[in-house]
Amino acid sequence: MPDERDDNFLDELLDASLRRYSAAVPREGLEGRVLAQLRSARAAKSSRKWAWALAAGVAAAVVIIAGIAIRKPVPSRPMTALPHASEPQRIAENPPAGLAAALRTAPARHRSRPSKGKAQLANAHWPEQFPTPAPLSEQEKLLLAYARWMASSAPKGPAVEEQQDKVEIPLLTITALNISPLEGEKDNPEK
């Protein structure tokens, strides 16, 4: 009888203990804490995804631009004659017969493309006079007027020379030196 009672007691104790074994109650607000962490994790995941997409887009754009810059053929600009071509340029464009023949027989050399800067220079309009003429300033006008007035009021150069020729210059006469001896030397000339 005691064995049966012990057996029942053990069964009941085991059942009650197993029921409570995992019947743990979490701290208040478990769901809120989990959700907050999940939201931050999802936000971080989303921002990482956008960052990767942005980086991939930038990389693709760089590759495309680099590819276009490398492969794009640069159109050769025709050489245009300057409105006032200098003599070497004129010769280069219309070489004499001998020079043209020599150029034709010369070995082909690598011709570098004219750079953009040179082409711009070639196409630029060059002024007739350098520096470009500009109207005179007030000071320059005053200086010019003074110079004209001086030129008109000053005597003519040849007339001045004639007057100078007419002036009589007295002749220069040179007399002989007459030096008298000292008194001591008169008495003893030997000394």
Binding site: E12, L14, L18, S22, A23, R27
Partner: protein, 190 residues
């Protein structure tokens, strides 16, 4: 009618919102079950809550397949089970002898089974006895203590047939009773 771009964007937002709502609903519905599964292994509130967080983070990572999961509670219980097993640490600090002595004293004092079962010493004693079971029996009895989980769900968590779960549960219970009896008799002899 929306422009194509706007329609696509709003469609994407709808999908994202739906996924987010689905996730939040899963947390509201299954967080406590997941917690108890983790607690059944870890025997510690703090570790169990960490395991819950880890379980739902894994759900976020595998969110694409979430819609196709048939038994979601069992799926989450399996993830929580694995997370908890990975995090399992040392056994509780109360020794087997101390726990058995305390239970013996309570019984001698006339305490009933329910009263004894509420005590921390009894919980520690049972944890130590469960830990001595063979692994297949230990897993079944541990998951069976999570009251929300049915036998088919335990079978899905462990990847075994439902019949095996019942059979192992019977064997595990018999072994536990035998060990408990021996434990209390040993203390009686002292």
């Amino acid at each position: 009618m929306h422009a194509p771009g706007i329609g696509t964007l709003s469609g994407l937002r709808t999908i994202a919102d739906a996924a987010g709502e689905d996730l939040e609903a899963a947390v509201e519905q299954y967080a406590r079950t997941v917690y108890r599964v983790a607690y059944s292994v870890l025997r510690n509130h703090h570790d169990a809550e960490d395991a819950v967080q880890e379980t739902f983070l894994r759900l976020v990572r595998h969110q694409k397949g979430w819609a196709a999961v048939r038994d979601r509670r069992a799926w989450l219980a399996r993830v929580a089970w694995r997370v908890a097993l990975d995090r399992r640490r040392a056994a509780p600090q109360i020794s087997l002898e101390d726990a058995a002595g305390a239970v013996r004293d309570l019984r001698a004092a006339g305490a009933g089974p329910d009263e004894i079962a509420e005590r921390e010493q009894m919980s520690a004693l049972l944890a130590k006895l469960v830990a001595t079971l063979p692994e297949d029996l230990r897993n079944v009895v541990t998951l069976s203590t999570v009251e929300e989980l049915t036998s088919p769900e335990i079978a899905e968590v462990l990847g075994v047939p439902e019949g095996s779960v019942r059979e192992r549960l019977m064997r595990a219970r018999g072994l536990l009773k035998e060990k408990l009896s021996r434990c209390l008799e040993r203390n009686d002899a002292r």
